[in-house]
């Protein structure tokens, strides 16, 4: 057993013509340009990036719905890039779930078990256990259109997890849920991954989702991986300007970036501080967010303790430790 359950080596995919799958795809658009990834067995991995960055195409190549133009995809060390989807031990939770509307919850969950002829002896036990874990007991004979959004998502998870795949692929799994439900389901998803021990590979454009769920993650931009690492590494030591601005908030001054929580705000002029005027204050409970327009023109967002109070129009001095700032070569790469 290799330590990495899934490995991508220099995978490239170019769409020949407009096909509407990637939102910003033009003619001869390179959706994925040399992506290499290694995903550790049993981990929760996220592929984060803005829409059109190639993350969904990457996921679809792993699932087998698209085939790479070049590069290798290995599952447990064996190449799978030439195999059809039904011969890969990966399963997908689709963004819109793609539940079979004419089958019941049970029919959907059992669908995969009935394929390929050899049904597992413990199939019924597995189905029952999974339906229990996902709180779907009593809904076995419902049709997808009789379920709530959250229930549909759990059916989609059960349908894929029942096959105990080597990797579970999740395409924006939370985006179809309403915001109130999203946070709750996020916690459940993490819990489910821990309990099943199955490797989860999630594609998302939501940085908060990726940061909170992942053991490790990669940020994608224009078909390339910008950086791979743990959420802490990516947040604290962004390797490129794109990662720095895409993950969390960042204030920019002459090519140097500094996080709002690393900026000090003072009424006294400290050495090396920048003078500015408070434009707005946002009270967030645990902290306050103050917007300061520097005399030089830049607008800084500063996180302050909730006790501090700043009035609009007040003069303030902005400073930070040089160790806390991020510097990047011009051009971002």
């Amino acid at each position: 057993m290799t330590p990495h359950v899934l490995e991508l080596r220099d995978v490239t995919k170019t769409f020949a013509s407009r096909d509407g799958r990637e939102p910003k795809a033009g003619d001869g658009h390179t959706a994925v340009a040399g992506v290499s990834l290694r995903i550790a067995r049993g981990s929760f991995f996220s592929l984060l990036g803005p829409s059109g960055c190639g993350k969904t195409t990457t996921l679809r190549m792993i699932a087998g719905f698209e085939s790479p133009d070049s590069g290798e995809i290995r599952l447990n060390g064996n190449r799978i890039d030439a195999l059809p989807p039904y011969r890969r031990s990966v399963n997908t939770v689709f963004q819109n779930y793609a539940l079979f509307p004419h089958l019941t919850v049970l029919g959907n969950v059992e669908f995969g078990l009935k394929q390929g002829g050899k049904s597992a002896n413990d199939a019924a036990v597995r189905v029952a256990r999974l339906l229990g874990q996902l709180q779907l007991n009593g809904k076995e004979s419902r049709r997808p259109n009789e379920l709530s959004g959250g229930e549909r998502q759990r059916v989609a998870l059960a349908r894929a997890l029942v096959l105990e795949p080597d990797v579970l692929l999740l395409d924006e799994p939370l985006s179809a849920l309403d915001p109130q439900l999203r946070k709750q389901v996020r916690a459940e998803l993490k819990d489910l991954q821990r309990r099943t021990g199955i490797t989860f590979l999630m594609v998302t454009h939501d940085q908060e989702e990726a940061l909170s769920l992942s053991d490790s993650m990669a940020v994608m931009h224009r078909g390339r991986i910008e950086q791979t690492g743990t959420p802490q590494e990516l947040y604290q030591k962004p390797a490129t300007k794109f990662v720095a601005s895409f993950l969390g908030a960042m204030n920019w001054l002459e090519g140097r970036g500094v996080r709002p929580e690393a900026v000090r705000l003072s009424r006294n002029e400290l050495a090396g501080a920048y003078r500015g005027t408070v434009r707005a204050t946002l009270f967030l409970g645990a902290a306050s967010q103050v917007e300061v327009r520097l005399e030089r023109g830049e607008v800084f967002t500063v996180q302050t303790a909730p006790g501090e109070s700043w009035a609009d129009g007040e003069t303030a001095f902005v400073s930070w430790d040089a160790a806390q700032e991020h510097r990047f070569a011009a051009g971002g790469l």
Binding site: P85, Y86, A98, L99, G112, G116, A160
Partner: protein
């Protein structure tokens, strides 16, 4: 408001009464009258025309109409399904859809003559086959049941494609990906996912093809010759050569009743599926 509504609906009502209700009443009345000496109808009222429907000779023609229509319908749906699937998944849907309806720009009669030109003993197919030495005697391609079925499939294929296309186009393309993802080979995905979800379209296509096939007379007349008589030709004969209008009317009522039953069954079946 409702008076205005009635006025706007009036033309539709008039049209429906003039072209459906009145002709139907005339045919119904004719079917219960006696035969006139030189065509037409005369009194007294009789049920004899309907009794004649149960004659074995007419039963055979009726049965032949049903099975030829059934074969043509099955062939149409089987051919139309992959075509509809292809069009629904293609980025050039509109082009292909207009190609499907393109034949309607030419008269059906002319297109049937074209088929005769292709199929007859001295036609294009036989000439080419003889010229290349594949066959010595011309193949009997025209004036048989096969030619009639070919003509029906050719003529009604567009009617089968359109409802199937409408059904398949609405389906989420991710459903087939999901099936493959869960381990279904293409054939299993077709049988377990695509066909059940297209059932509505398959029924609509079948009805749309079967009903006009049942009443056809042009195709069987031109491509079937004198041997392949269908109920449509039989009706035509009663109003022309045989000059037996009441019996022709009774046959028309029988055809209408059959089509009506079929629509009723299909609707029931369709509702069950939904």
């Amino acid at each position: 408001m409702s008076r205005l509504r009635a006025w706007f609906l009036a033309p539709s009502w008039l049209l429906a009464v003039a072209t459906v209700a009145i002709p139907f009443a005339i045919v119904l009345a004719y079917s219960a009258l006696s035969r006139g000496a030189y065509g037409g109808v005369e009194l007294p009222w009789t049920s004899e025309n309907y009794q004649r429907l149960f004659d074995l000779l007419y039963g055979a023609i009726l049965w032949r109409s049903v099975w030829i229509s059934a074969v043509a319908t099955v062939l149409c749906v089987v051919l139309a399904f992959p075509l509809a699937l292809f069009i629904a998944r293609s980025p050039r849907k509109n082009l292909y859809l207009s190609l499907v309806i393109l034949p309607f720009w030419t008269s059906f009669l002319i297109r049937l003559y074209a088929w005769m030109f292709l199929l007859r003993d001295t036609g294009l197919i036989n000439t080419v086959l003889q010229w290349t030495g594949w066959i010595r005697e011309p193949l009997p391609l025209l004036y048989n049941d096969g030619a009639v079925i070919l003509g029906l499939v050719y003529g009604y294929l567009p009617f089968a494609v359109l409802p199937l296309y409408a059904t398949i186009e609405k389906l989420d393309p991710h459903l087939l990906e999901a099936a493959a993802d869960l381990g279904a080979r293409p054939f299993r995905a077709l049988v377990e996912i695509l066909l059940p979800l297209s059932a509505e379209g398959i029924w609509a296509s079948s009805i749309l093809v079967f009903v006009p096939c049942l009443g056809t007379y042009l195709t069987s007349d031109l491509l079937g010759g004198s041997k392949t008589i269908l109920i449509g030709n039989l009706i035509q004969n009663q109003f022309t050569a045989s000059r037996d209008w009441p019996f022709g009317a009774a046959l028309s009522m029988a055809l209408l009743a059959m089509a009506g039953c079929l629509l009723w069954v299909a609707r029931k079946r369709g509702q069950e599926l939904l």
